[in-house]
């Protein structure tokens, strides 16, 4: 069965220049392994293909059972010159949480 990431995990978006960072933190630490297995950098890049133009790097932080996705060329040039309605990309945490995985 498919489920959306927001059923299992939460996220906060951050920005540095044109780079977007998205954390992915399971509500239950037992779900961390499943996120590691299913939410690869490639899958995130594919899910966010209309937003992230550059590469996606995934960091694993097992001590806090969390993942961090660093997405390059994702913010229309960056907050200071972007024309986007949300130039920081702050709403984009919820774009990641729309991704579907197997539950």
């Amino acid at each position: 069965m498919k489920t959306k990431l927001h059923d299992l995990a939460h996220s906060r978006a951050g920005d540095k220049g044109n780079t977007l960072m998205l954390s992915l933190i399971p509500y239950e630490e037992k779900d961390y392994a499943s996120l590691v297995e299913q939410v690869s950098a490639e899958k995130v890049k594919e899910h966010l293909q209309s937003i992230v133009k550059g590469k996606v790097i995934r960091y694993e932080l097992p001590r806090i059972s969390s993942l961090l996705f660093v997405c390059e060329e994702a913010l229309c040039g960056g907050v200071t010159t972007s024309l986007a309605l949300d130039p920081h990309g702050k709403t984009l945490s919820f774009s990641l949480l729309e991704m579907e995985i197997d539950s």
Binding site: S50, I64, S66, V79, T81, S95, E98
Partner: protein, 442 residues
């Protein structure tokens, strides 16, 4: 644990526009030793520099006076030291203003202004920017250049007994690293401790973002009383471990989830979080809920600080024009799309870059996600960059003209022109930067 020696640092503001009263609550009820107020975003200094050019007594944080009027009597009574980057482009003027407030309130206080971050005079324009690989001069007229200073720029002012320390550009975590180095005698050779201090500084720097602010979703993440959100403090022990807490009775929560979200916030590389003080390793941090709204932070590490310092350079990036108009009911998206196309046809030839057309309610925030269908109501937004304010204004004018020339039933036009200050970053040798401080007394 309460018998052990500890330093308690409160974080009373996480950005320039943050609420005023959480810092007052921390100062009056939090039993804190230090209060930090982080008030500088990337381009805040460039905007402050413009205010300083038009008035040499301005160029510091616009809320400084209101914040310090409330805080000065409390910190004077309790003996709390304040460290803040509210100096923005003009720390000495900020310090002078604080002295003026103290004299009016008949308070005796010693204020330090830390300077040396302004490196505009060193910039040639030939420097290659980190983001683009192109020289600075290719972007636009440079208006500001500020190096990120570290805790070592704050330490001499603490050693001189300053009770309020006002800086310009300083790395956010350094506001916390400095008082810990000062209190515990840590030095830059204690890289592990400086790494731990940077973790704590990072957790505190956005204030309410670790106590349940910017966290709730109202369904799965429930946070009580955000209207009276308490800002955090950390109890930091001599071995570099810390406990995050907040004042009893304030709103918000402190849980593993809130601390994890903040630990990873704006982190480019958790193995090497670079500041002027250290290359910090966040991957070795462990968290433990040790009580109601108390999370213990252990681990964290660091290695030698970077050779070069980052400099944020502000440049004139032209003007952004925006216009918005609202459609609702039957065929709202179709009418908004017609309107967007009309404006685009009339204006695009005058703009070098494509105009941006957003249909708010359908695709504006997450392009390509969602079903792209219409909502009951759609707000069209057209935006574009232009060299002059006059050309940028055409966008709002054309959107407004849709009232009588465009599709049926458009309403609620808003238009604006905003001057763009862009930011690019370069690296600079530490040796070329000399921070110093001056003392002001009431």
């Amino acid at each position: 644990m309460s018998n052990l020696k500890k330093i308690r640092i409160g974080a009373g503001a996480g950005f320039s526009g943050d609420r005023l009263e959480p810092a007052e609550i921390l100062a009056s009820q939090g039993e804190i030793d230090y209060l930090i107020l982080e008030c500088l975003a990337e381009r805040t200094i460039a905007l402050a520099q413009k205010r300083k050019l038009s008035d040499p007594n301005k160029g510091y944080d616009p809320l400084l006076e209101r914040r310090m009027k409330k805080l000065l009597p409390i910190i004077a009574e309790k003996g709390i030291k304040v460290i803040s980057n509210m100096g923005a482009a003009n720390a000495p003027a900020a310090a002078a203003k604080i002295i003026e407030i103290a004299i009016r309130k008949n308070l005796k206080i010693k204020v330090a202004a830390v300077t040396g971050d302004d490196v505009l005079s060193l910039i040639t324009g030939e420097e290659i920017t980190l983001e683009s690989g192109k020289p600075l001069s290719s972007f636009g007229k440079i208006v500001s250049a500020n190096a990120y200073l570290g805790a070592d720029s704050i330490l001499p002012a603490l050693n001189a007994g300053a009770e309020v320390i006002i800086t310009g550009r300083v790395a956010d975590p350094s506001l916390v690293v400095a008082p810990l180095m000062h209190s515990y005698g840590w030095t830059y050779s204690d890289t592990e401790l400086i790494g731990k201090a940077t973790v704590i500084g990072h957790l505190l720097e956005c204030a309410g973002q670790v106590t349940g602010g910017y966290f709730a979703d109202g369904v799965k993440k429930i946070v009580p009383n955000l209207e009276i959100l308490g800002h955090p403090y950390a109890d930091i022990f001599p071995d570099g471990t810390a406990v995050i807490g907040k004042v009893e009775g304030t709103g918000g929560i402190i849980s593993l989830a809130t601390v994890k979200e903040q630990l990873l916030y704006e982190v480019l590389n958790p193995f090497a979080y670079l500041t002027p003080d250290v290359s910090a390793d966040f991957t070795t941090v462990s968290l433990k809920q040790i009580g109601h709204e108390k999370v213990q932070v252990t681990g964290g590490n660091g290695s030698t600080k970077p050779e070069k310092l980052k400099v944020s350079v502000g440049y004139q990036g032209g003007f952004m024009g925006e216009g918005e108009i609202l459609y609702a009911g039957a065929f709202a998206l179709e009418r908004a799309k017609m309107a967007g196309e009309i404006v685009e046809k009339r204006l695009q030839e005058h703009f070098t870059e494509p105009l941006r057309i957003d249909y708010i309610g359908s695709n504006a925030a997450h392009a390509g996600l969602g079903d792209g269908n219409s909502s009951y109501e759609i707000r069209l937004r057209v935006s574009g960059l232009a060299k002059t304010a006059e050309i940028a204004a055409w966008i709002g004018e054309e959107v407004e003209a849709l009232y009588t020339n465009g599709p049926s039933g458009g309403g609620g036009v808003r238009k604006s022109v905003t001057e763009i200050i862009g930011i690019q970053s370069i690296l600079i040798d530490r040796e070329s930067i000399h921070s110093s401080f001056s003392i002001f007394e009431s």
